[in-house]
Structures are given as C-alpha cells and as structure tokens.
Symmetry: C2
Subunit: 468 residues, 2 copies
C-alpha cells in the first residue's frame, strides 16, 4: 500500500522485551493541527474548517479526545505565518489560529482529565514569562500542563522579532539549553508545601518557602522567585522534538515526552535506543521519557474504503500549497524554478529544521519521488508515519513499533477534524483495547500521572538553596 | 468619616452637563486583586484566600460579576514579586497568582458577556507575542478582550529579565508608544472580511486579505502579518493607566479605557478634562475613551456597620506588610530607618511609578499623616478612592463624580473576594439602578459594545496598505 511502514509481522514472544521498555500499554496524544493534519483537510466535508479561531470546535474535539481517554491534546505552534509566499498561505487553514497557551487555558476550564501540551519557542520569548504561563496553565488545569519546547527554525518567524534571520543551529540550542534550565529553576523556587494560608498568624506562605534563583548565564540573568507557587505537578511536563545530537541530549536530560518522526521501523528503534541510552548519563531512568512519534492514520472499514478516503483528500491538494509546504519542509529554499516532475534537487543543508530536511531527502531517495510526488507524499503526515488502512492494519503497525521498542505511544494526527478523530476513536481504539494495548479509563488525574513518569528535577524535593 | 472624598452635595441640574459627557449611565469594572483589594483581605473570613491559584474561585467571582452585568473583569499584573523584602511577601496573598491572560482565557470559556481585561507590560515582552495573545483572547471570548498596557516600574521586575534595573521613565514611554503602534498595526494586518473558507475554490482567505506590516522603528522591527485573523472586535480594547504627560498623550491617542486614581473631586475633574481635551488632537471624540478610576468600597447597611467592617480589616494589617506596601508605593525606597510615627520623609523623585509616588506624598501632606497612618490609609484602596459607608453614601459619591465630569464609571475594588463583591452587588447596585445610573442588562455582546466606544484605528476600515 501507498504509505506503509515496513511490513508488520505479528511479534513473537521472544521479541517482546526490548531493552528499556517496561510499560505494557500505549500512550496516546491527540495532535490537533489547524482543522486536520492533511494540508487539504479543511476542504473536506468531514472538517470544521473554521476551527482555528472557533473555541466551540476545539472544545468539541478536546472533549471527544477526553471521553476516549487520550493522554493529552498536543498543539504545535509557530511565531508567524511560515510560508514565504503569502498567496499560498491564503489557500491553507493554518494561516489563522489561536495562540496555543491561551487556547489550552480555555480548554482547561471545560475538561478535567486530559493532558494539555502547548508548543512555545525558546527563540523569541523570555524564560520568566514562559515559566509563569505554563505554571499558570498547570494550576488552571489541576496538573495537566505540558510545554513542548522548540527552537524557531524559519526566517519568516525571525522577521517578526527583528533578529535579522534565524540564529545558527548551535546558537539556538545553546540558548534553549540555558532557557530550559532557567525555567526548571524558576519552577523550583517555591517549595511544594510553601503555601500555608494561616489567617491567624498572617503567614500566607511558610517562612523561606520561596527564594530567588539568582541565575546568571550567557543568555539570561534571572533573579526570581517566580510569582506563582509550585504547581500541582511540581513542574509542568517537558516535551521536545529535536532529533539532532544536541536535541537528543537536551531531551535525554530534561524531557518526559519526545515527539518525533521516523519513517522506518529500523530508524524508529535506533532513535529510541539512542535517546533512552543517553538518559543514564543524566541520572534518569529510561521509562521516565516516553517516545511518542506522530502517526497520521486514514481509517476505513476496508482497505479500499481507507484508500478512497485518502485519495479524496489528495485530490483536494492545491499545487501552490503543496509546493509551499515542501519548500518549508526542506529548509525554506525556493523550489519554483525546478520541474515538479523532476527529481528532488540537491540543496545545501538547512540552518532551520535540520532533521526535517534530512527526513525529506531520505524519503525522496528511498521511494524515488519527484518533487510533485514528494509533496503529495507529505501533504498528510508531513514526514510522520502515514498509515492508510483498516483498524487492524493500523493497530498492527502501532503494536509492531511499540513491541519492537520503537515507541512508547503515538501522537495521533487526524487528517480532518473532527472526522478523522471520530474514525480513530470509533474504529481503531476498540481494536487497540481488544489487544490490551490501551487502557479503558484514566488512572491518574495529572498528565504526569497518565504518563507514569518522574520529572528530571525530582518532584517533591526542595530546590537547592543558593549560597548567597 | 475616615476616607471620604470631598463632601458630595447632590448635584443641581445646572451642574449636570459638563463638557465632554454624553453617556447617561456608569460603566463598571470588577477589579480583582489577589483575594481582595485590602492588603489583609485574605485573612478575613469573607475571602477565599486561595483564590490566586484556584480557578474555581475565579470562575465563581467572574460569574457573579457577569450576573450583576458588570462591563468587565480587570486583572492587574506584575512580572515578578515586587517586594524587595521577600519576608513581607510571605505574609501577603499576592505572592502567588495566575498569569492574567491565561486566567482570562479560562474564564472566556465559562462566561459569555462580561469583558475580560488583562494587564501585560510592554517592558519585557515582544509586540508580536502580545498582539497574538490578546487577539487569541478576543477570538476565544467572542470579542470581549481588553489589554491594559503598562510599563514596568520596579527593579524587582527588571531583575527577572536581566536588564540591570528599570529603564528611565522617558525610555519606557518611548518603547511603549512604539510597542502599541506595532500591536495596533499587527491587529490591522488582516481585513475584516478576509476569512472566506471557500472549500470549492480552495481559497481559505480572500486574495490579499492579509499582508505584511513591515514596521521598522527604533525599538522594533516586525514584518508581520499576524498569524491570527482580525478579531471579533476588530481589535481588542486598549486600556491604560498612565497619569504623566506622556502617559496621558498615549492614552488620548490610543486608549478606550483609562484606569486612574484621583483623591479629590477637583483633581478628578481636572484629570478628566485634561485627558479628554487631548483627544481632539488625535482625531478622536471624547466619548470614545471612558475614564474609570478605581474605587474601594466598604459597604454596610449602616455607617456604623461599614466602619466596623473596615476596622476589622485594618486590625488585620501586619506592620511588616504595611510598610512594604508603602515602600513600593513611594518608588521602592527603604523606609525601615524612619520612625513609623514620624512624618513621611522627603524622598527623591521615583524613576518608577511617578504618579503613584506623587499621590502618596499629596495624600500624606493633605491629611497630615505619619508613615504608619499613611500605610493604614492606603492598605485598602492603595491610592484609589476609598468609601466606607452605606449604599446611599457610596452611590452619592459615585454619582457626584460622574455628574461633575470626573468619571465615566469605576473599577470596583472589593476589599475581600467574594465577600466585598457580594456586598457591592447586593447593596450598592440596586441603589445605582434605582437612580438610573446603571443598566439592568447587557445591551451588546462585546466589551466595546458595553463601552459604546469606537476604536482609535477605525474598526471596519481596511488597514492602509504599505507602499512596498
């Protein structure tokens, strides 16, 4: 079939215990992008095309995901319209959308169990502000907040912040490393039990229950303390997506979820082993980080029905939009001068999203795709795994990757919203539950409770006091 | 009585038509600070002392204010704990609280009519991010967002952003002026009717319906467009509080609400005339800006009951907390070396909140207050008008200032939450309604609809296209 991973033999018992794996069920995220992950999804009747700026739609989608017991809702973000050509942006649903932390704050008020993960860039924000906002979201949601830390990778975003183009990869990561340390430090400026509210004595929080951070680094000087107390989760869950060496080290040191894209089972297993293998060096147990790659499913009761659904979406792709997507995915290079039916040209290494660019080149080479074929190929999953098939076929793929030690779970990217989400919930989830791969109900009340992980900085421990 | 304005004679018809006034009823904001505006409010049984980090409490307060038809909820903010002495902060409820834009986003999901105004500083944020967040809040709330633009005034806040102390007053305002222009410009990068969602043709937004801003100024370079479309209000309502010359000019040019503090009726009328008089120079009508000073009411069925309520709160003031509050109000100067029962010393002019410092000195001089008397005097209203009395007395004061042309409405600062809010709603609002000074129900669906104002940039008009 069009977009299968490597063929999925049902695993034999001897393959069921790969290194590093202890959990017995999948973690599942509901990844909401625009009004569906397929680039033409908004044109399909199964989408609510105004969802990007209509809270009611998002409430409906989030409440469906919660009723289905997803671990989390995941919102990506960019700090600007990322197409260099605004005429192509006019033809996508993604040009206008809620800022994700405000959106999840609204959803916090109308959901009660599902985790809420928002993306915020370290490139154009101050760590004090980011630490506050996610701490606030964690309090608002009763312990369900997660921060997907990214570095911004496009000049189109940088141009909204006067920085004269995106910083070099190494500089972005150096800033991100220090940024996350400051944020973790600020979340630790309050003790767990600091707030005592003793009306009688007038002591609102216990003596010395919060204290300065006094961070002085290369990029930031931040005194602290934070003006919001320690959160229900101790600290919000950190999520990361970087797949470069520095990206993997940062994740191994600080993340509890890694969102990634791997095209083949071998790549997925290699990535998983590499990442979890790095954790011991930072004093962490492998199970405290969940690898949750993106997964773009198109589900049909039969393979033919699934394929027909997929082809209906593919037929809606506007060539202008497809090419603009591809340009963004290979690092912002202008592809308009190339023959759409010719091979993918050799391009210099991107300064932006290196691993995404590499993924595109590998995919084109492996499958021998022309430019047009490549944009058609990525219009749905955008480099993530794409499975078009029956519930059993999709469950097979998920089970195979899970049992082979290539994933702890998946971020499900519905092609359209709510249609694609409904399909996954109604058709695939029962099959996963039948196989014992997904739980029947929530077991915890916090995002970290759903994950079953421990935070890097040690929830419950008081932060070290600064010397001064 | 302790804390009256100038005596309020009931106005005669001849005094009823001051220059600039056209509206016939008051605008009312519910100003929520910590768990009550009185610094010891959290210690009083009529407060929900954990409200700063408990969403349920805020939902309750906001829904009460909405049921009472308040025009808006108003949240102040600081980018850090503002006491230089953390030991005093441990003894206040304000050391831990939600970040206001996230909190109002949550409240947007569970309210439907009341306006939602959050404070965000121009000092330690990027205009693109601020424009996005408030546009997002306006979409989330269906057109109820307001941004209270402030410049940060304390070194304690600056220390969280590595800027080596707060900027000079003139520099803060120069940055704020340019900041607000960029934000207004970004809100105008999308036409009102840009989003068309034509599934058939594939045109999500109309051709050239959004465009770059291409701002290049002294402090910011911002290309745009915003990645969120024009909001239900066209643009969120701008709120300001500056009372210096540059502050008044900025407000006269861009604000639709001015939040201010005046101690006497004469001062209030002078301020009001001065501010509204500046508007013509910016091509605006006086009625498009509402002057809404803070008002701290303590309500009793009798004057004795009101006074007893107030004294009960005053008795709960911790001297350490009172002095720390005063230090902050006079510009961050250390007062610990002075005799609490001696006169307020001469201090150099503050670089921080100049008008607040001046207010403190004027108050102390006018009433001949010692340091201790001064902090007791401001522990409730913090420089805003304080009225301790019966519903009729409070309504008298409000009516007098309104009819004399000193206010278009008030931001009500309940001493405790929810107790002080309940008192105002149950006792004072019926009196105001009896006098025809406050409406029975909402007339519009947006914050701007409640205000009856027009935005400075002209809602409905397409933004001018940049030349290039």
């Amino acid at each position: 079939m069009l977009s299968r991973l490597t063929p999925p033999p049902r695993p034999t018992p001897s393959t069921l215990r790969p290194q590093f794996m202890t959990q017995s069920t999948l973690r599942l995220g509901a990844f909401f992008y625009a009004t569906g992950h397929h680039i033409a999804g908004w044109r399909h009747p199964s989408s609510e095309a105004d969802g990007g700026i209509n809270l009611e739609r998002y409430v409906g989608w989030a409440q469906k995901a919660e009723a289905a017991k997803f671990d989390l809702v995941f919102l990506e973000d960019g700090t600007g319209i990322r197409d260099s050509n605004l005429r192509s942006s006019e033809r996508t649903a993604r040009s206008t959308h809620f800022e994700p932390v405000t959106l999840l704050s609204a959803l916090a008020a109308v959901t009660s169990r599902i985790g809420l993960v928002a993306t915020t860039s370290t490139s154009f924000n101050e760590p004090y502000n980011v630490a506050r906002r996610f701490a606030s979201l964690d309090h608002l949601s009763g312990g369900r907040a997660g921060w997907n830390l990214v570095t911004s990778t496009t000049d189109a975003e940088a141009a909204n912040f006067g920085t004269g183009g995106i910083a070099q990869h190494a500089d972005r990561y150096a800033r991100a490393e220090e940024f996350v340390d400051v944020v973790l430090g600020l979340w630790n400026t309050w003790d767990d039990d600091a707030v005592v509210i003793d009306r009688e004595s007038g002591q609102f929080s216990k003596p010395d229950g919060f204290r300065p951070l006094n961070h002085r680094g290369t990029h930031f000087e931040v005194r602290g303390p934070l003006n919001i107390s320690r959160t229900p989760q101790g600290q919000p869950v950190l999520v990361q997506a970087g797949s470069s060496g520095p990206g993997k080290d940062l994740a191994a040191r600080t993340a509890e979820i890694v969102f990634t894209a791997n095209q083949t089972l071998d790549e997925a297993v290699d990535f998983y082993r590499d990442l979890k293998g790095r954790m011991a060096g930072f004093g962490r147990a492998p199970d405290d980080l969940k690898v949750m790659p993106g997964l773009f499913p198109v589900v049909g009761r039969s393979e033919a029905e699934a394929r027909a659904k997929f082809e209906a979406l593919q037929d809606l792709i506007d060539p202008v939009v497809g090419l603009a997507l591809l340009e963004r995915m290979v690092g912002g290079f202008d592809l308009s001068g190339y023959d759409p039916d010719g091979p993918v040209p050799d391009l210099p290494e991107a300064n932006g999203a290196k691993s995404r660019q590499r993924l595109m080149f590998d995919l084109a080479r492996r499958e021998g795709l022309s430019l047009r074929q490549l944009y058609l190929r990525i219009a749905g999953a955008r480099g993530h795994s794409q499975i078009v098939g029956t519930p059993a076929q999709i469950a097979d793929e998920m089970e195979t990757r899970f049992r082979a030690g290539g994933a702890d779970g998946f971020n499900i990217m519905p092609a359209t919203l709510p249609g694609g989400l409904d399909d996954f919930i109604e058709l695939v989830l029962p099959e996963l539950r039948r196989r014992g791969l997904f739980r029947q109900d929530y077991e915890g009340r916090t995002l970290r409770g759903h994950l079953g992980s421990r935070p890097p900085a040690g929830f419950g421990a008081a932060a070290p006091r600064p010397a001064g």
